[in-house]
Assembly symmetry: C2
Homo-oligomer: 154 residues x 2
Amino acid sequence: MKLNQSTDMALRIAMLTAASPARTTVDELATQLALSRSHVAKVVQRLQRIGVLVTVRGRFGGVAFAEQAGDLTVGQVVRAFEGDDEVVSCEQSGCPLIAGCRLRGELRRAQAAFLGVLDGVRLNDLVDGPAGPLLLRIGGLASGAGERPPEDGR
Amino acid sequence: MKLNQSTDMALRIAMLTAASPARTTVDELATQLALSRSHVAKVVQRLQRIGVLVTVRGRFGGVAFAEQAGDLTVGQVVRAFEGDDEVVSCEQSGCPLIAGCRLRGELRRAQAAFLGVLDGVRLNDLVDGPAGPLLLRIGGLASGAGERPPEDGR
């Protein structure tokens, strides 16, 4: 059982940007997270639409973690990226048992329990205490972003 | 978020065989469930190893739902087929955030809640009441298995 790749990326980006008040860019995120730039660009766009990231305009423009986004939950991000998908593909696979299947309902209940746990985890919870600075150090080490000039807000 | 294809198939096979006390074969299961024979063969072998199915020897040999397997849970089947896999691929994807990541623990908690729900669902629960005969009718209609001779045990 795996989350979609986009969901996985969205959570990493949300976590890394939550750790930093400074703006970043798609290029920086792609480097810091060792992910493909085009995928990161798509995921960032989506994260902007659901209010996790905001656009920062101007010479040092880019994206930044939205002011209130720390109160959004991991569950909200996962739901936004996974959509209404079930953990099994009953219709798409043309399963003939569908009319008499009780399993599907149980799997839906299990999925709700999964999301229920993540509904209790705010994005800020992921970077509280020592986790935030540690994430920044890791991100900075990976990309050289730690060497940014001080006017960058870090 | 999707279960592995093998897990999905294993659950369908467990459900269909739980509905019937009669023996069946890999070929019949593949036809009834509209799945590839080679995949069904692999999954059946695994289901035998974990005690869901037993081998029926002789002229009308094949496999059958094991006598005590009704008390096995959906959670046990899912665990057996999904292994220890997490819902994200932290190591395989080489995520640089791994050392400072709190998300992973939360996702593990969510996964445990998912499995916890399925630990409460016995295979017999899936075929209690009208669900069992309905599943058999569906399976039978799809394959003609409903026309089996009476000595087949149905």
